[in-house]
Amino acid sequence: MSEFVQHIINGLASGTIYALVALGYTMVYGVLKLINFAHGDVMMVGVYVGYATSRQLERDTSQSFFGVTLIFLVAMMTCAALGFFIERFAYRPLREKPKLTALITAIGVSFFLSYSFQVETVVGGLTLLPGAAPKAFPEIIKPTEWLVIGDRDIVIWNWQVISIGIAAVLMTGLQYLVFKTRFGMAMRAVSFDHRTAGLMGIPVDKVISFTFMLGSALAAGAGILYAIKDTLVQPLMGVTLGLKAFVAAVIGGIGHVPGAVVGALALGLVEEFVVGYGSSTWRDAVAFGFLILVLLVRPEGIFGRMTAEKV
C-alpha cells in the first residue's frame, strides 16, 4: 500500500513537469492551431541557459533563494525572447498558408535547435554551444527528504514539493490570466477566431507573440525543474520531454488548459506505474502507446471538442 502511495506521489511530481510543458503546447495550439514541434527544444535551450547561469554564479549564491530565482528568471526570459523570434520569423509568414507548411517549419526549427546544441562551439574561451555530451545540472536545490512516513515507507522529497508547488502556482496564475484578465480574454478570442478578434481592436499579432513568449517561458521553468530532478542535461532532452508533453496535451484535448494538466498528470502516473511495476526501459513506448490509443478512441482528447470540416 505504501509503495502504491509512493508511486502516486512520484507520478504526480513528474506529471506536473509534463503539465508545465504541455501548457505551452496547448496555449500555442489555442491561438495558432499549430503544433509547435519546437516547444520541447525551446525548453532544452532554457535548461542550458539555466545551467550556464548557475555556473556563472558562486556555489553559495546559486543555492540561495536569490540565486535560484535569478537562474529561473534568466532562463525564462531568454526563452521568451527565443519564442518571440521563432514565431515572428518562422511561423508568422506562414500563418495563412496550408497547415502542412507550418508543420514542416516547426519540425525544422525543432531539428535546428536540438542539433545545433550538439555542435560544440567555443569562441574566445567562451562556450557558446555546449556539445553533445550530457552535463550534470548543478544542485541548485539540494535534495532533502521533506517528509518521511513510517520506516521510509513513503518519502517525499523537497524537490517534489517544490516542483508541485511551483507548478501549482504557475498553473493557477495561468488560469487566472486566461480566464480573469482582459488579455486572457483577448487570447481566448484570438483562439476562437483571429479575424473577428481583430475587429474588436485586439492586436492579434501581439497577442500571438505574447502567447508564444509565455509558453516558452513556462517551458524553460519546467525544464529547469526537470533538470534538477534528473540532473542530466543534453541537447536531445527536449525532443523526448517535448513529445511527452505534447502527448499529455493531446490526451487532455489540445487547446484546453485544464485538460493539459489532467493529461500530464495521467501520463506521469501511468509512466510511474510502468516503471514501478514493470520495467523502466518500456517507459517511452508507453507514452506513445497511450497517445495512439487516445487518438484512435477519442481523437479530440478527453476535454476537447471535435470540429467538423465545412463542405
Binding site: 496550408p98 502542412l100 525544422g108 526501459t281 517511452d284 487518438l295 481523437p299
Partner: protein, 344 residues
C-alpha cells in the same frame, strides 16, 4: 503478354548496366559503400514520397518501417544462413536466402504500414505525423527490449550479402513502381486525395482504401531498404532508426518537392553525397580531421534550417509536384508551379 514484356523493359535495360557498374567498381570499396548508402536513401525517399508527396499524408516515422525490414530480414538471414539450401551451389543458395529474407522484412514492414495506415483514416496532418513518429519510437523501444533483436546492442553478424547490383536493383524497382503508380488511375486518385480529400471522396475515390494502400506500398519499400541496409552493415542497431533518420528522409522528400519522384532521387543523392564531399574537401585542404568531423555534426542543424528556409522561400521544393522532364529546360513552357505543398 506483349504488354507485360514492355512493362519489364526498364529492368532489361537496368540489369546489364548494373552488372557493368558492379564489375567496374569492384576495386573501389569506398565508392561501393558510398553508393550503397545513396541507394538505400533513394529507396527510402522515393517510397516516403508516395505517402507524403503523392497522397499528402504527413508521415515522419519512415525509419520505423525501415527498422522492421532491417531486423526481420537480418534475423531471417542469420537463422537461415546456418543451413543453406542443400541442392543449390552455395553462392546461389546465399542469394536465394538473401532475397527471401529481404521479402520477409519488406512484407513485415508492409504489415506495419497497414497498421499505421489505419489511424490515417481518422487523423489528419499534425496528428497523423505524431502517430507515425510515435510508432517509430515504439518500434525502437520494442527492439531495445527484445532478446531476439539483440536489445540495445543491436543485431550483429548479419551476413554481408548486399552488392551494388542488388541495392540498385531495389532502387530501380521502387522508382519504376512509384512512376507507374503515378501514371495510373491509382496515382491520380492519390494525388486527388492530396489536393482535396472531400472532393476526391465525392468523385467516387475510396479515400480510406487508397490512403492505406499508399502506406502499405511505401512501408514495403522502406522495409526493403532496411533489409538491404542490414545486409551490408552487418550490424543492425536501434540507433540507426531514430527520429533523426526519419527526419533525414523527410528533408529529402520536402527538398526535392513533395510529389516529385525525380526530385526525391536528386535530393537523396545530393544530401547523402554533399556531407561526404565537404568532409573529404576539408580533410584535403586542412589535413585536419577535426574540421572534417564537424561537417557531420553541422549536417543536422543545417537540415533543420533547410526545412525552415524551403518552407519560407520555396514551399514546393526543388521541382514542386513535377518530374524533372516536365520542368525547364527540358520543357520550354513550364507551367507556373504550385506555391503550396499538400492539401489545403
Amino acid at each position: 503478354m506483349n504488354g507485360v514484356l514492355k512493362g519489364l523493359l526498364p529492368f532489361a535495360v537496368a540489369i546489364p548496366l548494373l552488372w557493368l557498374a558492379q564489375f567496374l567498381t569492384k576495386d573501389t570499396p569506398f565508392l561501393v559503400i558510398l553508393s550503397l548508402t545513396v541507394g538505400v536513401n533513394i529507396t527510402l525517399a522515393v517510397s516516403l514520397n508516395i505517402v507524403n508527396g503523392m497522397t499528402g499524408q504527413f508521415s515522419i516515422g519512415h525509419a520505423g518501417f525501415m527498422a522492421v525490414g532491417a531486423y526481420i530480414a537480418g534475423v531471417v538471414s542469420k537463422m537461415t544462413s546456418v543451413y543453406g539450401i542443400s541442392f543449390l551451389p552455395e553462392g546461389v543458395s546465399d542469394q536465394v536466402l538473401y532475397v527471401v529474407s529481404l521479402l520477409a522484412g519488406a512484407s513485415s514492414a508492409a504489415l506495419f504500414g497497414f497498421l499505421v495506415g489505419l489511424p490515417s483514416l481518422r487523423l489528419k496532418g499534425d496528428y497523423l505525423a505524431i502517430v507515425t513518429l510515435g510508432f517509430g519510437e515504439i518500434i525502437r523501444v520494442f527492439v531495445q527490449n527484445t532478446e531476439l533483436f539483440g536489445k540495445a546492442l543491436g543485431l550483429s553478424g548479419v551476413p554481408q550479402r548486399t552488392s551494388l547490383f542488388s541495392c540498385f536493383f531495389v532502387v530501380v524497382v521502387v522508382v519504376v513502381v512509384a512512376r507507374r503508380i503515378a501514371a495510373s488511375s491509382h496515382g491520380r486518385a492519390l494525388l486527388a486525395i492530396r489536393e482535396d480529400e472531400v472532393a476526391a471522396e465525392a468523385m467516387g475515390v475510396n479515400t480510406t482504401a487508397y490512403k492505406v494502400r499508399a502506406f502499405v506500398v511505401a512501408s514495403f519499400f522502406a522495409g526493403l531498404a532496411g533489409g538491404v541496409f542490414a545486409h551490408y552493415q552487418s550490424i543492425v542497431a536501434p540507433s540507426s532508426f531514430t527520429y533523426v533518420k526519419s527526419m533525414e528522409i523527410v528533408v529529402m522528400v520536402v527538398a526535392g518537392g513533395l510529389g516529385s519522384t525525380t526530385g526525391a532521387i536528386i535530393a537523396a543523392v545530393v544530401l547523402t553525397l554533399l556531407p561526404e564531399a565537404l568532409r573529404s574537401l576539408f580533410l584535403n585542404i586542412t589535413g585536419d580531421g577535426s574540421i572534417a568531423q564537424r561537417v557531420e555534426q553541422i549536417r543536422m542543424p543545417i537540415y533543420g534550417l533547410l526545412l525552415v528556409i524551403i518552407m519560407l522561400v520555396r514551399p514546393q521544393g526543388l521541382f514542386g509536384t513535377q518530374e524533372i522532364w516536365q520542368v525547364w529546360p527540358f520543357r520550354k513552357r513550364a507551367k507556373p508551379a504550385s506555391t503550396t505543398p499538400g492539401a489545403p
